[in-house]
Subunit: 400 residues, 2 copies
């Protein structure tokens, strides 16, 4: 998607650019760059707690994303809005005017030099899995109505009991998929993963349908019928179920299996049917591998995050059905409103962890800033209409 | 592949057609029909054991396959070689001249009427999973040098201890994949499966490369380089390993993930690179899901069968590496020389089980006919050069 075509002109709206922006954090993945940054509300330094030395600042967390292949557009966006000044100064050398920005993901390594050159700031690299976990823990603990189940078109928010959150399985579906067993704050292990992820959906999907964007492909899949290309149990069994092993006639026996005998060329299939089969294949596969890993470690809760999902109904439905089918109803898939920003949020949280600059610190008695999602309260995004509904989070940060 | 183009003219060579053919068994899958039948050697009724009433007949088991979409060619082959007379008469009504043929797979249901119409014989359906297990048990116990490991281009036969064979995991990769925990003769449970199987490789491969056959696609993959289209860890991390979680820079992070940012059309990729990525994605995925299921039930031995494999070096290597990687060296993938014929062999074995006709019975002290693979001793196959190396098995059957 060309940023210039999407109505983005490089500057935030006046309201936001006038407010003070700080704590820019990046998650530079194989396909997408995710940005999180904090903007203070104007004149809002509230000394809530007179007995304490420190204060809360009210403001908002903002989320944005760019394609990694268009990193120059992303850097231009950062530069023209002075987001890069929202880093911190080197704590070992406070006199230095060197600014450091928190970043995670492979691109923090790959693009460190480019960022230094274009923005004049250095990258402080944060470990990717650590960031994903910190971001997920933050969202699950601090944000009201963050996690939900999705089944048969029904979204149901899940109450998270802070004292009974761990252990859980975090499945982050980016270009590839990481599966992480989370046992507590900073306590985790990457136990599995698969290369069949969002990059596979988009990559194969582009080749098969000539779609120009991930979202176009997702939208297409919405209208498609996977039965045109998938070989169903009923196709093999002459319309019958294979009831002895619990497979109904409509179960997919072989993804894309009907393309073998159809003798049709690629162009003779509708792109929407192809997109649907592909999405179902990948979502189902991830759901199955996730469940098998949850089972292995006795994890009851599986949270799915990452930009592959995009609150897309059919994707979530397929993952939910897969987890439900393989676990015989024992396990439930859960999703996160801010699914795509786990890593970036984790990198953002690391400003707290290291006590940098005017550190964001957790509110007393709470481990994290208090946040309320503000649906529809949008800022000017680089990619219009390309984000989750919850584009910013109201948030107080604790200023030391 | 058109049967007429492949040099097949519908009749077996004279030697074979003159010998008596019996016990035709079919496995009609979503993509392929597999045939097994027995031919007696001429004048070879040997009464080996004078103390017993019954005798062994020497002969051979023969294997053949057709595409399911070309079932009419298959039926013509059966008819012109009178293989269909190698069934049995109804045991409840021996006076009837109705001939029954053993068949398994979904096509035993789907094509029962067609077979009755064209061949004048009825199908006695055998349960698919039961046949796969019976076929695998037969091969593992009765056939010398049947199972082997394959790693780094090295094939090593595995000695099977008959007293320590169970439990094992049988992974049958046909159009789709079935995973069966086998605990003994006739004792098994289908514990898992995946729709990402041989039909996916061929179906997606056809659409992406315009290959005309599965074998052409396999051959292509041999020459390809998956790094052209797969997104590697090094592509994300700027050439670095992600050593903290044990991922080298050459690990595939996202299958087909590079196709996202390349901005190349399908036609701009080499078909061989696409075939390679696809084969690696699917083989790796099956290996991973198989291992997770083996782990779940504490199964140390995993045997891979089904016509997807076709003794293809890269396929076996990828599956072996996947099992080795995910199990941290604890588990080993094993393959079977007659991988594609498990179901058909199982249906063939069921002639024994039910005591039909001049039943094949196990030799005294052995549960199965004594078989020795005869490499290179070929009969005229419907699809030239399209089969495993071991095209027939020398075999004695016990005649009641």
């Amino acid at each position: 998607m060309d940023v210039r075509d999407s109505g983005f002109h490089g500057k935030l709206d006046d309201d936001q650019s006038e407010s003070q922006i700080s704590h820019l954090a990046l998650d530079i993945g194989g396909t997408l760059i995710k940005l999180v940054y904090f903007s203070r509300n104007k004149d809002n330094l509230i000394d809530e707690n007179k007995n304490r030395k420190n204060s809360f600042v009210e403001g908002r967390l903002h989320f944005a994303k760019f394609e990694t292949s268009k990193i120059n557009d992303c850097l231009e966006f950062i530069l023209s809005n002075k987001l890069h000044l929202g880093g911190f100064q080197h704590h070992e050398d406070p006199a230095s005017d060197k600014i450091l920005i928190k970043a995670t993901g492979g691109g923090a390594y790959r693009f460190a030099d480019l960022i230094k050159e274009k923005l004049g700031v250095s990258i402080e690299k944060e470990e990717e899995m650590e960031c994903l976990v910190a971001g997920a823990n933050f969202l699950l603990k601090a944000v009201h109505q963050e996690a939900y189940t999705y089944m048969d078109g029904r979204k149901e928010f899940v109450h998270i009991d802070h004292n009974d959150l761990y252990p859980y399985l975090l499945v982050n579906i980016g270009s590839g998929v990481s599966m992480i067993k989370v046992d507590g704050d900073g306590k985790f292990e990457r136990i599995s993963g698969t290369s069949v992820g969002g990059g596979t959906f988009w990559g194969l999907g582009r080749l098969l349908t000539k779609c120009k964007s991930f979202d176009e492909l997702l939208e297409l899949s919405h209208q498609g019928n996977n039965r045109v290309i998938d070989m169903l149990v009923g196709d093999i069994y002459g319309g019958l179920d294979y009831s002895k092993i619990g497979l109904s006639s409509t179960t997919i026996a072989s993804s894309f299996g009907k393309a073998i005998s159809d003798n049709r060329e690629l162009e003779e299939y509708k792109p929407e049917d192809i997109a649907r089969s592909l999405l179902r294949m990948i979502s189902n596969n991830i759901g199955q591998i996730a469940y098998l890993n949850a089972l292995r470690f006795g994890l009851k809760r599986i949270f799915f995050g990452g930009f592959f999902i995009r609150s897309h109904a059919f994707t979530m439905d397929t993952i939910s059905v897969a987890v439900n089918f393989w676990s015989k109803g024992e396990a439930k898939a859960m999703f996160l409103n801010h699914e795509g920003f786990l890593g970036a949020l984790g990198a953002f949280m690391s400003y707290v962890k290291h006590g940098h600059d005017d550190s964001i610190s957790p509110q007393s008695g709470q481990r994290y800033p208090v946040c309320t999602p503000l649906v529809g309260d949008k800022i000017c995004y680089p990619l219009n209409g390309d984000l989750n509904d919850n584009d910013s989070l109201e948030c107080s940060v604790y200023v030391a």
